[in-house]
Symmetry: D2
Subunit: 333 residues, 4 copies
């Protein structure tokens, strides 16, 4: 009964089927039938012309995008708890050639226009201090909170005023959409997002993520950077096929809704213990070491989130029984 | 009837089955059951203790290894036609932080100890010139030739004398082994190889390659560099499972033998036209534009290798009929 | 009457004389008579065998040292207000190839062993988080405070326990020595410092700083990195001669004492306004915009250090009259 | 009697005087009176608006320029014997973040438009091969040959057609001008040069070189990169003053003429032994080891340029007696 991470869940059967269906001779790299359909399929989904690239990790998607948006000698503003800061082993510096992350505060890993403006204002405009070039936000955040389209648009507006680019780490964007019901376009390019890491692996994919460029002028550079970073797979059709399968009949949204529903159920059972409102598929709880141990003893698996805190993550495939059992167990603690 | 590239071929059914069998909840990254078996399985195969890492591309395997073997301010000696020089978009410089490739000559993309020694001798030992740190050889080479164990050992011996590390790009090492029947250990660590990129994708794999460290002291660094380069997949079990499937019952060797046999058949049909002896699974031919056009007109697909030259690559799954037809067509040109 | 920066002051006449005396034909780079005396002269000064390199900026000295002490994929712990973080345009990331600065808090830009230990403890020991490799402290700090030998030794001891290297930015180390009277050796290598940027330019030099390695095994790497960064000057003798002139008869110490004495005089006049105790040659004061404007109106030049704060820096050559005038003006505000 | 390198020569007295004259308090970095005059002085010299930066080495000038002209994932075409390839410790890769040098052949280290075009044509236009971004030529070359304005213009024209930038390493541009009498503008920006490293140190300077941007839109980026590389000196006035002294009354040209005249005298004495025509201030001779030893025995110092070859370099300050003696000695060999 595992609530440790959505990365631990299996891939959706339709994803596996798509891989099997792609198992025939075709052109290498991204010249195959599936890869060539990606731009169109994702342009349709986002209701604007995009350039889309499959990659195998969110880190690759994030950092290829950031490398195009930020030169080596400038900085990216992000939350102190952003995945790019705490969980990517310094990959942003590697891909950009040394760009700096400027760390902002904000409840639940969300950043506000005010925090961004303050951070920019604190930087002297001279050659001694590193000047900002981009903002990166995560939606849903590392604490399962979501930005609304209006919130993203406020950041996008500020970015434009300050001459900054805007990147969105959408490892769990599907969950954000499933939560608010807002339109993908409103949450992204209409709100000023220039590049998006659109996550599928945590949401029932196998090993394909999508890097989406709304500023398509960066596409050629990204294509080269992807190859140079060893992220251009020779049999790319197996990645493209996964993404197309996730888009078919909105499987991405269906999976995210399932995961969110589980999180809501757990959140309701733990209402008194919640560290953050439950919006996407993550639930952060206060729990004493003793309480945590009791849950573990009952066979539940989760992440120890520091002193007195635990993290539960719901996956697309969570079994109703296990969820009910965990909800009941939490309620009884 | 495609002889364009072994990258275009499908994955072997047993590889797909292994992916399906791995499609259950397990620990993320490389903490899963399959990933944890890799070191052991590859140590058995190589008859020595190794540390093994799955990655998704040969470029990643090559360049992660080179980054551990060569600091940013030194150089790697390789053939002028090496994949790392001509087909990886400058990835060695990206991963190493700017190390230089020193390009050597040699027939059929093979380099000799003498060429290596000459290149080293030509470098003044001072801070103005970039000092060498490593040698990288490709076996089988980009022209389908192979190094014997003795040939590798001669290079390994020289490397030791000169204080250089030795990397082998084994994108088609399976084909080299299938050609000579030599032992994997004799071709690698016993001959002085420090790190090996062991290719599976061109040989019936789907998207998993293995980076093998014979100098296991680099393992921790490689693990960090892999993550930092976005090459630590969250659902790593699907990669590990592929590799294990390729090792089971020596599927890797069986596939390579099949591809080599096809190449031999084509090579015999084209004996008068061969640019290089046929050893692994590649056949390089002299063919006038008119001759090439005739083959294309008959439905055969291959790589135009510059003026008057074509490249045929045999895959593990080549159909006997198509091979016979191409052999006959070449013989009749 | 300038108290803006010690960088604005002229060079000491003996430094200029040394340059003139070096103006004859000699070997290029650092093969000349003066450069070859540096290791010995600085080994004598520090009472241990060191390897010494002239460079032209503190940024170069700091970042060449950090590049040797920290690989691209690890981090350097320093104060949030450290020069390497706020005033070097991201040079540490450039020279190291992307190493991260982890920013610590601490009064007056000093960091404590406790702050270092806490920062280390907060880093999960896995490949997802950037692991620390080095500590960098500034003595005297960016706020003119000094570390005693015991304080440095406590940090050095912790560094050893944690497997971290220790770098000291000594842009104003001379002022720290002049303040405490402690021995250079006690403040550096005996306290566990591995590499030191020993500043001369702010202290009456013209354009030569010294990078001192107490861990001499890094010398060859540093020599290469210096060249590769364009910091190996062809007529190096003019830099070496400057450094030797600063060492002769302890000119470095004499200059620092003069600057410190000026700072003390200003500090006493401004005792009620001091933001930090005056230890080295910097004086930070509370001053309303109106007060600051009055001082400016009287012809005094200084750095506006944010709302309600000003910074005065004393140079080696400050005229007694101007100092008395400023002290009187402050006292009367 | 040293003919080893023009880097070994002393600085011209007027350069030293200028340094002494700058030895008064002024603004740090490049806000001082001298630095602020550079753009104007060099714009006048080149008869067009330029942006000029002092740096301390040719390596820094070359590589800062190349970093602005070439992204990390593209390449720079240069001669196999170019200083940036053989004598800068890999600095181009360091400053650019991994750009590749593509090495061209050509007599006397000169490259031709045909060689450039061939090299470009040999690069497949795809993401697997590194695409070119810039050309770098050296004038005078590493073998003392010069490009005429027409020759540079032919390369500049090709660069424009191919979408490439053009950099000139002018470490000895003064000697090229002194040789041909051509106009600086005709040899540089009118011929399509985008950025120029204008050397002074080999020509009587002390430690200041000039980086000249004809494409002034790169100036802000260069200013940041200079700081980030540790090349923004705090007391920049001493560098600017050197450059201004070299420009005053065309001292740069006078010095270059003197050095060239010495080279011509030596070249005439060695007419039968010349490996290259003598154009700038370098003379390459055939000389057996025995002959070389005889010259050495007579007190002449020079560079052993490989088997049977020696290099003599004339400096601005060479004594007529020594020159006559060497000329006579060579003639008598």
């Amino acid at each position: 009964m595992r609530f440790f991470s959505d990365n631990a869940a299996p891939a959706h059967p339709r994803v596996l089927e798509a891989i099997a269906a792609a198992n025939r001779l075709d052109t290498a790299y991204d010249g195959d039938d599936w890869s060539r359909r990606l731009d169109g399929a994702l342009s349709d989904l986002f209701a604007t012309e995009v350039r889309a690239f499959w990659v195998t990790t969110g880190t690759a998607a994030n950092c290829l995008a950031l490398a195009a948006l930020c030169p080596p000698y400038r900085s990216i503003l992000c939350h102190r708890d952003a995945h790019i800061e705490v969980d990517e082993a310094g990959a942003p510096a590697f891909f950009t050639g040394g760009a700096k992350l400027v760390l902002l505060e904000g409840e639940g890993a969300k950043i506000s226009p005010a925090a961004i403006a303050d951070a920019c204002d604190a930087i002297r405009d001279d050659v001694h201090q590193v000047q900002p070039a981009a903002i990166s936000i995560t939606n849903a955040t590392e604490y399962g909170l979501t930005y609304s389209g209006d919130e993203v648009a406020a950041i996008g507006e500020l970015a434009k005023q300050r001459g900054l680019s805007l990147h969105m780490d959408g490892a769990r964007l599907a969950n954000a959409v499933a939560f608010s019901g807002e339109d993908l376009a409103d949450l992204t390019w209409r709100a000023g997002v220039d590049a998006l890491s659109f996550g599928f692996v945590k949401n029932g994919g196998l090993n394909a993520e999508a890097l989406i460029l709304f500023r398509t002028e960066f596409a050629d550079e990204i294509a080269v950077r992807r190859k140079r970073a060893g992220h251009l797979l020779s049999k790319g059709r197996y990645l493209a096929a996964q993404l197309l399968a996730m888009l078919d009949d909105d499987l991405w949204l269906e999976n995210a809704r399932a995961a969110n529903a589980t999180a809501q159920k757990l959140g309701q059972a733990a209402a008194q213990r919640l560290l953050y409102p439950v919006e996407a598929n993550e639930v952060f709880l206060k729990a004493t070491p003793d309480e945590a141990a009791r849950l573990t003893g009952m066979g539940f698996d989760f992440y120890d989130w520091g002193p007195g805190q635990i993290r539960l993550v719901a996956s697309w495939d969570q079994q109703g029984d296990a969820v009910d059992a965990l909800a009941a167990a939490i309620a009884k603690l």
